[in-house]
Structure formats: C-alpha cells, structure tokens
C-alpha cells in the first residue's frame, strides 16, 4: 500500500473516533445550513403570503363624506378604522403606518364630476409600510378606473377611448427562475457545507498533530512529505464530500417542507441535480481541502487554526454577494474562476437553465490546476524545517 493511503486510512479512522469531528462534519455541517435556509424561506415567503391575503386596516379620516368609496375599498379588503385627531403627527411618531384622508369637499367634487382628492399619509422611509401603501393605492386606482369607465358609458362613450394603450406583461422567467431569486444563497450554503465538513480534519491533522507533538515522529519515517500531505488532503476531501452529500440530502428533504407557493425545491434538488453537482464540486472540494491544510499549517495550535479557518469561511461568500449585488450575465471566464464557476453552475441548475459542458469543463480543469498549484505551495511549506518542529 502506498504511504499516502496508509496516512489516509489512519486519518479517517482517527477522525471517525472523534466526536467533535463527527458532530461538525456529519451532523452540524450538513444540517445547519439547510435548516437555516428553511427558516429564512419560511420567513420571507410566509410574510409575503400573509400580507397579500390579510385585510388591510387603515385609519380613515372623513369616511362619512364618501360612504360609497369606502364601501368599494372594503370589498377589496380594506378595513376602515376610526379617525384620529392629528394623523400627520401619529404617522411621524410611528403610532400609525398609514392614514387615508378624504377631503371635506370630496362629495361636492364627485357630484360635479371634478377630480376628487384623497390623501395618503405615510412615512416612505419605513420599509415595512411600503407594501401596505402600494396595496391601498392599487385599490383606489381600481375604484377610480371603474368609476371613470361608468361615467364615460353614461355619456355614450366607449371606455376604451380613454385607454389608448394597454400593457400586457409576458414574464419570461420560468417558475424555477422566479424561485431562484430566493435561492441565490444556496450555492454558498453548499460550498459552506463542504468547508465545514473538512475543516476539523484539516486542523486536527496539521496544527493539531503539531500541537500534540506527533508530527516530528511521523516525519522521521522514510516517507516523502508529499505522500504524507496527499494522505491528509484526501482524508479531508472525503469528509468534506461526505458532508456535502449529506447536505444535499438535507436540502432535498427541506425542499418538501417549504411553503407551498414556492416551486418545490425538492423537485429541483433531484437525482439529476446531485449527479451534476457532485462531479462539479469534486475539484473544488480538493482545492478547499488543500487550502485549509495550507492555512492550518501556519498555526501553532488547534485554536489558532480554528480562528484562521473561521475567517476563511467567508471567502466563498464573495462570488455569491457579487452576483446578487451586481447582477451580470454569466460570462465564460467566470466559469473558469474557482468558486465562481461552481456557483454559476449550481445557480443555473436551480434556475432550470441549460448548462454548458464547455463551461463546466473549463471550470473543472482550472480548479484542478489550482488545487495542484496549492498542493505544490503547501508541499514547499511542509519541506521547510519550520513546520516539522513542534516546539
């Protein structure tokens, strides 16, 4: 058996006996992010649904002036509330979200056929009020349009005269793509799962081994440092991959628990998704494993390495945030950038878009090359005297 394989087997056996590693790699890592995701989706989707269906309570000032108008709004879901003395002050002090004020001469204007005025009093700097304002506006608009049409009809004019142009929206987004707006974080969560899965083993087999003073005896054996490093990297990658696989299963399960309105995440994360994502992720997992070992090898102790790698978890967030903050068309070169490429592929799968074999091929080869380069860099570090000496 090759020495690398001996090292690999020993690292795996030792880690499987470590409750800390097991908990992190095989329980927390794979479950934490899907659960987080589930809670987030429930919050976001649940709130939208709730708002659309719930009656809209609005304080109305001067309701008696326009009983028909109020009746029409009530039918659309508005719930008039008794008026208050100083609505402007109430809104400013955030005691009220939204006030509808009907001008005293509303009835006169209405009867005379002049534009009758209503006022919406709200604070536009408050994010959470915006959707209520929009709902009320569209209710008023609907009533206004309907009344206008009736007036035209009464004068013998077809209402279509007053509507020279009609907009018909034809949204080309697939149902999956609409859901994917919310799924933008999923690629990061998957990569994070892989990161957490390998992290403990990467630390334990480098900084941990040094701290426990077992690295020096190990390196005195007639085995090349490359073989030792390869074994440790493979063990890290296997745990990382196992974590990722469990994470995908968890997302699959979570998909069936999402609010009904969403396109089923469980349908998207099916066998096809897994079959494409796994091979796309293997080179990245190798790169992550060797990068984690490299970082951890600089640390003198387990805790120090933990600090470094904790910060490193934020690195894969960069492409996710970039893509959400600056939406751009995925270019071919992006697929070549490790982390970026994999996230694009996963996003495209989630959106139900076509994936290009060329882009995946480029991504896989560049990431593999990056892993090899990283391995070389780490090997140089391992050949230095600094790493071998414990004290």
């Amino acid at each position: 058996m090759k020495p690398a394989l001996v090292v690999f087997v020993k690292e795996c056996v030792e880690s499987l006996r470590d409750r800390r590693v097991l908990l992190n790699a095989l329980v927390l890592g794979p479950l934490l992010t899907p659960l987080l995701f589930l809670v987030l989706m429930h919050l976001i989707v649940g709130r939208e649904l709730e708002k659309a269906e719930k009656p809209l309570p609005v304080v109305v000032v001067g309701a008696k002036t326009a009983p028909n108008f109020i009746e029409a709004l009530k039918q659309q879901g508005m719930e008039p509330r008794p008026e208050v003395a100083d609505p402007e002050a109430a809104v400013r002090e955030q005691r009220l979200d939204l006030v509808l004020r009907i001008a005293p001469k509303f009835a006169d204007d209405w009867r005379a056929g002049r534009p009758a005025q209503v006022e919406l009093i709200y604070d536009s700097s408050r994010q959470d009020v915006r959707s209520e304002v929009e709902r009320l506006e569209s209710m008023i608009q609907a009533f206004s349009t309907r009344s206008g049409s009736l007036r035209l009809l009464a004068r013998g004019i077809a209402p279509s005269v007053a509507a020279p142009i009609v907009i018909a929206s034809r949204d080309q987004a697939t149902p999956q793509a609409r859901g994917a707006l919310l799924l933008g974080m999923l690629p990061y969560f998957l990569i994070l799962t892989a990161l957490i899965g390998g992290m403990w083993l990467a630390i334990d087999s480098t900084a941990g081994e040094r701290e426990r003073q077992s690295l020096e005896p190990l390196l005195v054996n007639p085995v090349g440092r490359g073989q030792v490093l390869l074994g440790k990297m493979l063990a890290t990658a296997v745990f990382s991959m196992a974590s990722l696989l469990l994470g995908l299963l968890a997302f699959f399960a979570v998909g069936h628990l999402l609010p009904s309105d969403e396109p089923g995440l469980g349908l998207i994360i099916g066998p096809r998704f897994v079959l494409i994502v796994l091979p796309v992720m293997v080179p990245l997992v190798l790169l992550i494993a060797i990068a984690q070992i490299w970082v951890a090898s600089f640390a003198k102790s387990f805790r120090e390495a933990q600090t470094y790698l904790g910060l490193a978890q934020l690195v894969p967030l960069i492409p996710s945030v970039l893509m959400m903050a600056v939406p751009m068309r995925p270019q071919l070169w992006m697929s070549a950038v490790p982390l970026f490429g994999q996230q694009i592929t996963i996003l495209r799968l989630l959106r139900g878009e076509a994936i290009s074999a060329l882009a995946i091929g480029i991504g896989v080869s560049v990431t593999l090359a990056a892993a090899a380069a990283m391995f070389w860099v780490t090997l140089r570090l391992y050949r230095s005297e600094r790493v071998a000496i414990s004290a």
Binding site: E14, R212, Q213, L215, P217, V220, N221, G224
Partner: protein
C-alpha cells in the same frame, strides 16, 4: 554506526551547534551529555534528517544523510524530543501505523508489533487507546514505535524525561538489550546518573561544541576528578571560561 563530522547550525543570530564531531559505535551505548540548551536536540534533529545542517557531514552505516536521507531514516530508530501519540488510536494501532509507513504489509506489521509488545512487556496495554496512558506507558509505546522496523541504529532524545524510578529501570533494561543485540545506541541526556548507569562512551556538549569525548574512565582522568559528576561540572566550567559565545 553513526558518524558526525563538524556539524554547524544557526537559527538567526543564535549559533545552536558550532562544529560538533563524534562517532557512536555498534554494540555500544553512546551518551550525548550536556546542560539544557547545549545543542543536543538540534544535533540529533540534523542526525535524523529533520533539519539540514549549515555545514558538516553525517553518516549512518557509512551512508551520507544529505544525499540519501530516506536510506538513513530506514536505518535509524528515533525517539524524538516530541513523542506525541495518537490518543484516539490504541497502542497497537499507533505502532502498526509506523510499521506500515516503514513499508511493511499488514501481516508483517501485526507480527512485528506483537513481538515488540511482548519484548517491552506491554501486552496488557496493547488494545487500550493511548489517551490516559501514564508517562511511562507513553514512552514505552513511543520506543516500540521507534523500533518497529528493527533498526541497526537507535537514537533517543532524553528518553528518561518524566519517567518514574520503575519506568526508568525498565527503559535501561531495554537499552542494554539493544546494545547486547549489537546495535548502535545513541542517547542524549542532561542527567548524570543516566550516563553513569548506561553509557560506554560519553560525548559532552556545551555551547554547541564538543568539550569532551571518551569513556567514563577517560573523562574522570582527564578532569582529575573521581566522581563523574564533578568531572562533568569541571569540564563544562572550563568550557565556559574558554570563551563561550
């Protein structure tokens, strides 16, 4: 047989080893004696090829350590200064891991491990995880690990560190039997009794240099002291006066 010629090593401005030369013969226990910080551990680390000397040559059984480090490592059994075990592995697994890394197959490793456990009288410990081992049990396991490939030369850095009287007595027996088998045994220590009880040949190191080299009797004569401890103190003291760095 271990030969060291004019070894130099500096860390930054600190000259840790400055021209150390000695030879350790087969069938003898050679003691590298010196106060803490004298350069013993650094010398040994260069010897087992963990560090590269700035200058000088090392030969093990006539093989040059700089040009054939792997071959030298195969011929050396090493108990380094750092002797950590894998605490989630049993004593047997710890020893067998190193056997496999020395190139043995599974059966060879198991057989050799069983034999060693019997020789070192630690069969009762074999299947226990090393977490919770006493200091003596840990050193024993580390020595078994160092001897697993039946090396002709055995290098032990401060083997008696932290051992109680019983464990130390056991260790001496092991070292004497290695000598009886005709191996070259090299130990480093700062404890005089250790040397008196064991060594056929003593190399005293201070300030990175060899200040005395010979049999215990020769050293006593050289310093004109009856007691070896007094001899040691005198020699070290003379070295300090000689213009230590």
């Amino acid at each position: 047989m271990i030969e060291v010629r004019d070894l130099w090593k500096a860390f930054g401005v600190t000259q840790a080893v400055a021209g150390v030369s000695f030879a350790a013969q087969d069938g003898q226990i050679t003691g590298l004696l010196g106060p803490n910080g004298a350069g013993k551990t650094t010398t040994l680390r260069m010897l087992y090829t963990l560090m590269r000397p700035d200058r000088g040559r090392i030969r093990v059984d006539g093989i040059d350590a700089a040009s054939a480090p792997m071959e030298v490592r195969r011929r050396l059994g090493v108990l380094p200064d750092a002797r950590g075990l894998y605490k989630r592995l049993s004593a047997r697994e710890n020893i067998e891991y190193f056997a496999r890394l020395q190139g043995m197959n599974k059966e060879q490793a198991a057989a050799r491990c069983t034999a060693l456990l019997r020789t070192l009288q630690m069969e009762a410990l074999a299947e226990r995880r090393t977490e919770g081992f006493s200091q003596g049990e840990r050193v024993k396991t580390a020595i078994a690990r160092a001897l697993v490939h039946d090396p002709r030369n055995v290098v032990l850095d401060e083997p008696a560190n932290g051992l109680d009287v019983m464990a130390n007595r056991g260790l001496r027996e092991v070292l004497r039997s290695l000598r009886a088998e005709g191996r070259c045994v090299l130990i480093s220590t700062h404890i005089m009794q250790e040397v008196v009880a064991l060594c056929d040949h003593i190399v005293i190191i201070a300030f990175g240099r060899v200040v005395a080299d010979g049999t215990p009797e020769a050293l006593r004569e050289q310093s004109q002291q009856h007691n070896l401890e007094d001899a040691f103190m005198k020699i070290i003291g003379a070295a300090a006066l000689d213009g230590a760095p």
